[in-house]
């Protein structure tokens, strides 16, 4: 439900970055999502064409990378993967854990078509 709002936020950020880099088009947008972010990747994919229509990202591919849930035990220090509603230590069974990853909702990177590719190429070698 709220994935459209999130897509619109992504597009706003992408528009700014594309403008800063004088890009003609955005070809790819990579986002990283953890299960505990509350964002559903398939819903994001459905909402993306609506949010991107008519923008510089209209032909961009949205790639969603799912990150695992990992916790560290506050009692015994063990680190393990966990499922979304059981963030428990697999070694001692404690619930007193800290989340290491799994709540990410990040715009990771974007790929741009820039005007003068050769010039950019030279710059990156300097």
């Amino acid at each position: 439900m709220h994935e459209l709002a999130i897509c619109q936020s992504i597009i706003e950020q992408v528009k700014n970055i594309a403008a800063e880099n004088n890009a003609q088009a955005v070809t790819k947008i990579i986002v990283q999502i953890g299960p505990l972010s509350g964002v559903e990747a398939p819903l994001l994919q459905h909402a993306f064409p609506i949010a991107s229509a008519g923008t510089i990202a209209k032909n961009a591919q949205l790639e969603t990378q799912l990150l695992p849930i990992k916790v560290r035990c506050n009692l015994c220090g063990n680190e393990n993967e966990a499922v979304i509603n059981k963030l428990l230590c697999s070694a001692c069974g404690a619930w007193q854990t800290s989340l290491l990853s799994g709540d990410e909702m990040l715009l990771s990177s974007i790929e741009l078509e820039t005007e003068d590719l050769e010039k950019e190429e030279e710059k990156s070698h300097v």
């Binding site: 439900m1 509603n85 989340l99 290491l100 990040l106 990771s108």
Partner: protein, 273 residues
Amino acid sequence: MCDTCGCNVTEANRNLIEAGGKHAKTDSGNEAIEVLHNLLHENNHRAAHNREHFDKHQVLAINLMSSPGSGKTALLEATIDALAGSDLSIAVIEGDLETENDAQRIRDKNIPAIQITTGSACHLDAYMVHDALHELALDGLDIVFIENVGNLVCPASFDLGHHLNVTLLSVTEGDDKPAKYPVMFRASNLNLLTKADLLSVLDDFSISEAEKNIRNLANPAPVFQLSARKNQGMEQWIDWLKQQLKHYREHLSQGETVLPDIQREGQKLHAAG
């Protein structure tokens, strides 16, 4: 707020970031740019602004979340009654898809209430709260309650600029809700089991099971039982509010604010790492 301190870098994505530079070329010659902004970067920026506004007036902002009909407005009505005669001054921001009903219930008790109608939006965001704050004078207030849209899913993802999350679970909903809606219940600073007067006629709600499901989310937040209608358990809730207000203002006096638990824990962890 997470763009400069590196706290976006978690165990799971560090390798992806360290593999390439900030600007790298793709095989097709396009330019690839690392961003690592929160997807709700703009919302979070506005939320931080809202929080500064609350902090300037030393007003504690509490985000009330639950499913529809679990008793958020009834809790607020009972809270207003319980605070009558005390020196605590409160106001309410109400979020609903439609109607002014909830704000009117609060105004009937002579407490300022701003109604946000979201139309079809299933959650409040920092922009809506910002607009509401333009209509609400914070001077002289102690606590602002933000009653979020009744929904156990979407509101959990949006920072409003509040300081604390309180999640209500009415006992008629079932003790397994924290296991079914982990994102919401992981984020709560306090869990209120509401309509607790009905426990005597419900044979399928176990307090200990509800609490176990919350602990399974690594959430140490207290679990209180109350009934707003029967005025049971209100004292514990009011004491908690007073404690939190004191704690918040102590933080302010040291030049710090209070962030909803999840964010604070995340920042602490990443700073240590």
